[in-house]
């Protein structure tokens, strides 16, 4: 199946196997391995990408469903050598340990901030409660998102 989609801001056309998981398409065909597989069942959030402005599980999406869509992966956040604000905040707040949840966590945060630039603490918690991190207690991650939420308010 031929699909047209926007990949990290770039119009793209690809001949894909429509019933393949979007996660596999991203990792194996697009060679964008920043998106991780943690559980394969939509329970850990490691594979989160942003499709049409919304955070979704790429492990529970089929490549055919990408047709006509706009896909943003972790690789698409850095622009012209400058990290996205949310990426900078994750670094600044020491919210990165093993890093395996980081891509998904950052993408969930990004989707939240795209839709709601000034989320409350509760909204932040809710937005990332589908992303599991085992290396810490979510505190630094919440603080990182909050940092961006407050920064943009200035």
């Amino acid at each position: 199946m031929i699909i047209h989609f926007v990949l990290n801001g770039k119009q793209t056309t690809a001949d894909v196997q429509a019933d393949r998981r979007l996660l596999d398409f991203i990792r194996e065909d697009l060679h964008l391995t920043g998106t991780k597989e943690g559980c394969g069942e939509g329970e850990c959030g490691a594979c989160t990408v942003v499709l049409n402005g919304k955070a979704i599980h790429s492990c529970l999406t089929l490549t055919g469903q990408l047709d006509g869509g706009e896909l943003l992966t972790i690789e698409g956040l850095e622009q012209n050598g400058e990290l996205d604000e949310i990426q900078k905040a994750f670094i600044k707040k020491s919210a990165i340990q093993c890093g395996f949840c980081t891509s998904g966590m950052v993408m969930s945060a990004k989707a939240l901030l795209m839709e709601n630039p000034h989320p409350s603490k509760e909204e932040i918690k809710k937005a990332i409660s589908g992303n599991i991190c085992r290396c810490a207690g979510y505190r630094e991650i919440k603080e990182a998102i909050q940092l961006v939420a407050e920064k943009e308010e200035e």
């Binding site: 990792r27 194996e28 060679h31 964008l32 391995t33 920043g34 998106t35 991780k36 597989e37 943690g38 559980c39 394969g40 069942e41 329970e43 850990c44 490691a46 992966t73 972790i74 690789e75 956040l77 850095e78 990290l83 990426q87 994750f90 670094i91 600044k92 020491s94 990165i96 340990q97 093993c98 890093g99 395996f100 949840c101 980081t102 891509s103 950052v106 932040i124 918690k125 809710k126 990332i128 409660s129 589908g130 992303n131 599991i132 991190c133 085992r134 290396c135 810490a136 207690g137 979510y138 505190r139 630094e140 991650i141 919440k142």
Partner: protein
């Protein structure tokens, strides 16, 4: 006094964060190569049985299939998955082969398919038909210990150990207390599952293995000996690891993938699915413990007796060592004149249990601390007071090993912790709120614990590092680090940077690689920063000494007058003439003909305990059994925190895992079939961002004399005190004596019913 350091103690985030935050960092599962082959295993479909027939005919028809392995075509040879070092071969029982005709738990691998894609391998696996002759089961420990129980191994089902000090039985005491504890199985839940890549180079007749392991040398010894290859022909590299918590310290896939790569002379990768990770790696042990103590009326502990029965699952693997360690921890927190320990590790026809973060400390702490909380209550003593009365003091010798506990700061943890947490105030407030007898009940609980920072004195604590100045004055440090993601690479860089005053981005420090790094046991026992950090520090100091000699020659002054500040050598009074590392290197190599490098080995002769205390307050919904953690505090005397931000991260992680252990996480086993009933996260509801409480942490940073810049360990102890503190808080809230983990809502409602 606070020393002013440039790097040590500064919150500088983690190493490699740019790669991680942009998705460009490469983990083992991200590795690709032209012609790489992929593997999948077929899971056995009986809980106990002998394979009578394997039919792979249909599987071979799947396009892309390159090889199928079963017990019939792989070596009848054992390996030890729990091996840390070369010398350890005799310590642990060798019970495992790549494939066995004898299937001992449901889901055990019975065949592997190697194919051009994961999908092909998976499809072929589904087409393999296996027939079994079923054997009787021994699902529970009780069943497996019966005289007529089916024997899983020729060595029998039970490993037994005994330790004692003093004469517990002979202690005359008016008060004897007994409690029981049950701990359930957990999965580590490292976000990255097990992944191994092995590549055989035909031209060099050499195998290179990438594995997110905790011990590259342990892995190499295991692989090379299993494959009959000289160590020079096996190279093991540790790539980035997506968390371990103990599940990456055993050789789960390394021997198999290595064997396949060599056999096919190919590049082969195997990534576990989450289901495989839960069923086929290992779980945290479930165990039953009976604790008895004798305590005098004033609350002084006279002795303790502990009997533990631990479920090893289908293979003993590291369980005997784990079991011994639980007993070995009995004298490390309190003054104990009499200790009695009896432990059994029992093989059952269930998935394998094995190493888990804290290697016995979380178990020992749960067993003992819940007991002391019970005793304090019986004595009418405050649990903090009870502990203040009994804890070890600086430099005391713990009786079971005769080793000094070093500058372990139990008292500070207890006093500063209870003050910061407002223990007394919270306790009183909870009691007051409970008088209303409303729907919600409140309680506080606490626990105390300690953990090691090295292997000393159980093994020679050896740690080595090499460092060399490069031609531009930048630095390379060779030290075999196995970073789990918690920042040990960063810690080493900071130590080197502090000594040599080199900016962090001018230091190359790769993770463990058997080819170009000194020997090391690996990342165990919370030893990395304490022991390897010391090696790095000493190595860099010696290197700086050498550089100073060169600078002295270059500046024409005496060695001992050379000063080094901000990366520049100079001497008084000629303050204007300054040399940097690049200039010194140039002079050293081109004029003096000597390269600037150093290698050194250090031997830690201490094992200072890290103390930890946890305080928590809960709100229990007596209608639904739900427990909400309203506030909690972890206190640890980490010595000096090299990476304070990572230490706090670790504390959060320990709290998260500890809450899981206490209240919610359990990989349930079917009591009839022995099958793991939970094989995904859908029914394994770990703490997420919404449920995780706003926790507090307190680091007591008194420098440890023997640690690098005063540092001790932190990685494992963070888990240990959480569960007993939480259990106590729930018991305080409800007036119960629950000790069966996890305290899920159904268990809590049952207990409320019983109290009523």
């Amino acid at each position: 006094m606070e020393k002013d350091y440039h790097y040590i103690g500064k919150a500088l985030s983690n190493d490699g964060v740019y790669g991680k935050v942009t998705g460009s960092a490469e983990y083992c599962s991200d590795m690709e190569s032209v012609g790489m082959l992929h593997m999948k295993c077929k899971a056995g479909e009986v809980s106990h049985g002998m394979i009578t027939r394997i039919d792979s005919e249909e599987a071979w028809k799947v396009p892309g299939v390159r090889a199928i392995y079963t017990w019939e075509n792989t070596p009848n040879r054992y390996f030890d998955r729990g091996r840390v070092s070369l010398t350890e071969a005799d310590n642990a029982p060798n019970q495992e082969r790549l494939f066995d005709r004898h299937i001992r738990f449901y889901g055990e691998r019975v065949a592997a398919v190697v194919a051009e894609s994961v999908e092909d391998a998976e499809e072929a696996c589904n087409k393999i038909k296996v027939e079994y002759e079923e054997l009787p089961l021994a699902v529970s420990m009780e069943a497996a210990m019966q005289p007529d129980a089916p024997q899983l191994h020729t060595s029998g089902n039970v490993y037994e150990t005994q330790t004692s000090y003093g004469d517990y039985g002979g202690v005359q005491s008016e008060c004897k207390y007994q409690t029981r504890v049950h701990i359930g199985r957990m999965t580590h839940l490292s976000m990255e599952t097990q992944c191994v890549r092995a590549c055989y180079s035909k031209s060099e007749r050499k195998l290179t293995v990438w594995t997110g392991t905790q011990t590259v040398y342990g892995a190499r010894a295991t692989i090379a000996e299993f494959l009959d290859m000289p160590f020079s022909k096996v190279r093991v590299i540790k790539p980035l690891m997506g968390g371990s918590f103990g599940c990456k310290q055993e050789m789960i896939l390394e021997p198999l993938v290595s064997y396949v790569a060599k056999d096919l002379q190919a590049d082969v990768k195997f990534v576990y699915t989450r289901e495989e990770q839960i069923v086929n790696a290992m779980l945290k042990h479930s165990l039953d413990g009976q604790i008895e103590s004798k305590v005098d009326r004033e609350g002084t502990i006279q002795g303790i007796s502990l009997d533990v029965c631990m479920d090893s699952g289908a293979y003993q693997t590291i369980s005997p060592s784990y079991l011994r360690t639980i007993g070995g921890k009995l004298g490390k927190v309190y003054k104990m004149k009499n200790i009695n320990y009896h432990g059994r590790a029992v093989c059952t026809t269930t998935p394998v249990n094995g190493s888990f973060r804290s290697w016995g400390s979380s178990e020992a702490t749960m067993l003992v601390e819940s007991h002391w909380n019970y005793v304090a209550k019986q004595l009418g003593m405050d649990p903090v007071e009870f502990r203040l009365k009994n804890h070890l003091q600086y430099g005391d010798r713990e009786v079971l090993h005769g080793a000094s506990v070093g500058e372990v700061r139990f008292e500070e943890c207890l006093r500063q912790g209870s003050e910061r947490f407002q223990w007394q105030e919270r306790k009183a407030a909870c009691a007051k709120k409970n008088q209303k007898k409303g729907r919600y009940r409140y309680g506080v609980g606490m626990a105390l614990c300690s953990h090691t920072t090295s292997f000393y004195p159980y093994q020679t604590e050896v740690a080595s590092a090499a460092a060399r100045i490069q031609d531009d004055g930048s630095l390379v440090v060779h030290v075999p680090i196995h970073d789990h993601g918690c920042g040990t690479v960063m810690a080493m860089k900071k130590i080197a940077a502090e000594i040599l005053q080199v900016k962090l981005d001018r230091i190359t420090l790769n993770e463990a690689d058997t080819e170009n790094m000194p020997y090391d046991y690996g990342c165990y026992a919370s030893r990395t920063v304490y022991t390897l950090g010391r090696a790095v520090k000493e190595c860099c100091e010696k290197l700086l000494g050498k550089a100073k000699m060169v600078a002295a020659a270059q500046l024409g002054c005496a060695d001992n007058t050379i000063l080094y500040e901000n990366g520049e050598f100079f001497s008084e009074p000629n303050l204007d003439r300054r040399l940097n590392l690049h200039e010194v290197w140039k002079y050293s190599v081109f004029t003096m003909g000597k390269d600037l490098y150093e290698m050194c080995t250090t031997n830690a002769n201490g094992n200072p305990g890290t103390a930890g205390a946890h305080f928590t307050q809960v709100k229990v919904d007596t209608y639904t059994g739900a427990v909400e953690i309203e506030h909690c505090l972890s206190v640890h005397d980490v010595g000096r925190a090299i990476n304070p931000d990572m230490c706090r991260g670790q504390i959060g992680s320990g709290i998260q895992q500890g809450i899981g252990m206490a209240l919610r996480e359990e990989i349930k086993i079917d009591p009839i079939t022995g099958r793991a009933l939970i094989t995904n996260f859908k029914n394994y509801e770990v703490m997420n961002a919404a449920d995780m409480p706003d926790y507090d942490s307190l680091l007591i940073e008194e420098e440890e004399e023997t640690g690098p810049f005063g540092a001790k360990g932190i990685g494992e102890i963070v888990l240990a005190p959480i569960a007993p503190a939480l259990v106590e808080a729930v018991n305080q809230a409800l007036g119960t004596e629950l000790t069966t983990l996890p305290l899920t809502p159904p268990v809590i409602l049952e207990a409320i019913k019983e109290v009523e």
